[in-house]
């Protein structure tokens, strides 16, 4: 710090330090306030409410660990919701990363019309999740949907997609693969960053395409793959909008807006933990149980985040 060196007088130096500290605080103040008011407080309040019986009308009463015992051992939907979330985290993330890498590779190999293909592959990612889900529920609807119509024409008996408990989650995976644009761009950038000399040298050594991928491409892009997996896991743990909208629309229930149907149609197969939090808190007004479940979700997310912090190379790389 060239400025502090110039100030020889220790008192002036101290004054300067104090001013700097206030300045730092001032710049950080929006976030300091935001973090404590919109994160710290509600987190503490969630812990508080998890020990309370509270239906949002009468004042809360203390019930000890009863909410916890109810959610973790008795609540029938907790198991399915947790299972669905884990299923989606494993299958959706794995397929998205694999497909994203595949499309990224494809784009780097295309010679004619790169611009068109790149844009075409990227655009679906931009579609608002609700709109994309509405579109897919229509495309895949078993009655009049164009996909099943086309499949029937070539003699394939198509599944009932969002209306079949066994196919509802795979349909959501299909929807998520449609919006692969983000991963495609990331992988494309990573693939183009692999030094060309390494490929040329490998080729001279007689490495075929597969071993070139295995020994040149893969070691170079592993950090990006890790990054994609971790952010994918974090995102999928929050999986909410698409599952809820798909379930509601596919169920075909036409009770007006703000409908009270339970999420998870068909047969709880699309119920995820975040949806259950919403359903408990805002449909059943069981604040205590909803808060317990929020904390379970918080613990899971923290576990993943901590894991990420360990391997934070990608996120903090540019520091200093």
């Amino acid at each position: 710090m060239s400025l502090t060196q110039r100030a020889a007088d220790p008192a002036a130096l101290r004054r300067k330090r104090a001013r700097e500290r206030w300045c730092t605080l001032g710049f950080l103040s929006p976030w300091l306030v935001g973090f404590s008011v919109f994160f710290g407080y509600p987190l503490l309040a969630t812990v508080y409410f998890s020990f309370m019986h509270y239906n949002q009308i009468e004042p809360p009463t203390f019930v000890g660990l009863r909410n916890w015992a109810y959610v973790l051992t008795q609540m029938p939907l907790f198991g399915p919701a947790l299972w669905n979330t884990v299923w989606l985290v494993v299958v959706m993330v794995a397929l998205r990363v694999a497909f994203g890498l595949g499309v990224g590779l494809l784009v780097t190999k295309i010679k004619a019309g790169v611009g068109f293909f790149r844009t075409a592959f990227y655009i679906p990612y931009l579609a608002p999740p609700v709109a994309a889900t509405v579109a897919f529920v229509f495309l895949l609807n078993p009655g009049t949907g164009p996909v099943n119509g086309l499949l029937a024409r070539i003699g394939i008996h198509a599944p009932n997609w969002f209306n079949d408990p066994a196919w509802a989650k795979p349909s959501l995976v299909l929807l998520s693969l449609w919006g692969i644009g983000d991963l495609m761009v990331i992988f494309m950038a990573a693939l183009l960053d692999v030094p060309r000399e390494q490929y040329e040298a490998a080729e001279l050594d007689g490495a075929g395409p597969l071993s070139r991928f295995r020994y040149v491409t893969w070691p170079n892009i592993t950090p990006i793959v890790m990054f994609a997996v971790v952010t994918g896991v974090v995102q999928t743990m929050q999986y909410y909008t698409q599952a809820l909208v798909a379930g509601k629309l596919a169920s075909g229930v036409t009770i007006g807006p703000g409908s009270q149907i339970q999420p998870g149609y068909p047969d709880h197969s699309t119920l995820t933990v975040p949806q259950l939090v919403w359903s408990l808190g805002f449909q059943n007004f069981n604040t205590g149980a909803a808060c317990v479940l929020s904390l379970v979700l918080f613990a899971l997310a923290m576990a993943v985040t901590t894991l990420l912090m360990r391997k934070r190379a990608g996120l903090l790389a540019a520091e200093d």
């Binding site: 950080l28 973090f35 994160f39 293909f117 931009l126 509405v134 009655g143 703000g258 808190g281």
Partner: protein
């Protein structure tokens, strides 16, 4: 490996001196695993050209197939959106007549224009609030040295990772019971005036790339921190700010969870993303109108993308994958 590789560009930048032959490290890795094998004989030039052609055909067939997967949903949605009510229920693919009136019909749906207005208000106000509050925080985290800076950055990243559902219940109770703002979008906009973790993180990543000499020379010239930020840093950080603004705009435009929590009970406060879902239920089986509305919700973000591609690319490289 007795003959030196006739590769003009070798050794690569990463080639260490420990290899006797001037071959890049990766080659050693490649050949090391398969030393026992004989080298493949180089093919005749003709067959080589054939393989290239086959490769070209394979790649472009794959590209066309993938393009169909990505584009056809839009095509079907569009074709259905211009069908007559009856045809939309028939499962046919090509419209008999082009019923553009479906689009005007959508706009005449009660509330649709309000949803547009609300979406725009939420997205614009949210973006402005986020950028104004996040830039100073990101600047402090990137350029100031103070105790606890590392912890602060880690906290920002942690909050960025957490599902919004974790803290939503007490938050809702406060907004609904203390401030009586349930049924409006303000509970979503106001917190954005206090910094958004994701935007802070992205902006900090961008500001780290600005050489500190600029900042220091501004201070030598007698600029206070605030003036340095506004006069020197913000103009240099324009691309980063543009990218963050776009991301935040899209986030607000696409947000479903937030409006569902706070605006559900008041249809006058619904956004497009939230209202669209009720469209299907209101128009029971009219897939044509629903598809027209779906396209109208998709259109703005896609248009914005085409006008702001550069800022987008900037943003993608910012998301931390540069490491």
């Amino acid at each position: 490996m007795t003959t030196p590789a006739p590769n003009p560009s070798a050794p690569g930048p990463s080639a260490p001196a420990l290899a006797p032959a001037p071959a890049p490290a990766a080659v050693r890795r490649t050949s090391g695993r398969r030393r026992g094998r004989t080298r493949r004989a180089p093919g005749r030039p003709g067959s080589r050209r054939n393989t290239r052609l086959l490769h070209w055909i394979a790649v472009h067939t794959g590209a066309v197939a993938a393009a169909l997967f990505f584009v056809l949903p839009f095509v079907f949605v569009f074709l259905t959106s211009v069908m007559s009510d009856r045809q939309a229920m028939s499962g046919e693919l090509w419209p008999h007549g082009w019923h553009w009136s479906n689009y005007t019909e959508v706009f005449r749906t009660p509330g649709f224009l309000d949803w547009w207005r609300n979406s725009l208000m939420y997205a614009l106000l949210g973006t402005v609030c986020t950028v104004c509050s996040s830039v100073p925080v990101a600047y402090a985290l990137a350029k100031f040295r103070f105790r606890g800076r590392r912890t602060a950055v880690l906290l920002v990243i942690s909050t960025m990772m957490l599902p919004p559902q974790v803290v939503v219940i007490p938050m809702y109770l406060v907004w609904a019971q203390q401030f009586h703002l349930a049924g409006t979008l303000w509970p979503l906009i106001i917190p954005m005036a206090f910094g958004d973790a994701y935007s802070i993180f992205l902006l900090r990543q961008f500001l780290l790339t600005i050489p500190k000499e600029y900042v220091e020379s501004a201070k030598v010239d007698g600029c206070g921190e605030l003036r340095t930020l506004l006069r020197i840093v913000v103009p240099m950080a324009k691309p980063g700010i543009a990218a963050v603004s776009l991301f935040q705009f899209f986030y607000c435009w696409n947000d479903y969870f937030g409006p569902q929590i706070y605006a559900a009970q008041n249809p006058g406060a619904w956004t497009l993303s939230y209202g669209l879902e009720t469209f299907k239920t209101a128009h029971s089986v009219n897939w044509n109108l629903t598809m027209a509305a779906t396209l109208l919700v998709m259109a703005p973000v896609i248009l914005v993308f085409f006008f702001a591609q550069k800022a987008f690319v900037e943003g993608v490289t910012l998301t931390g994958v540069k490491g």
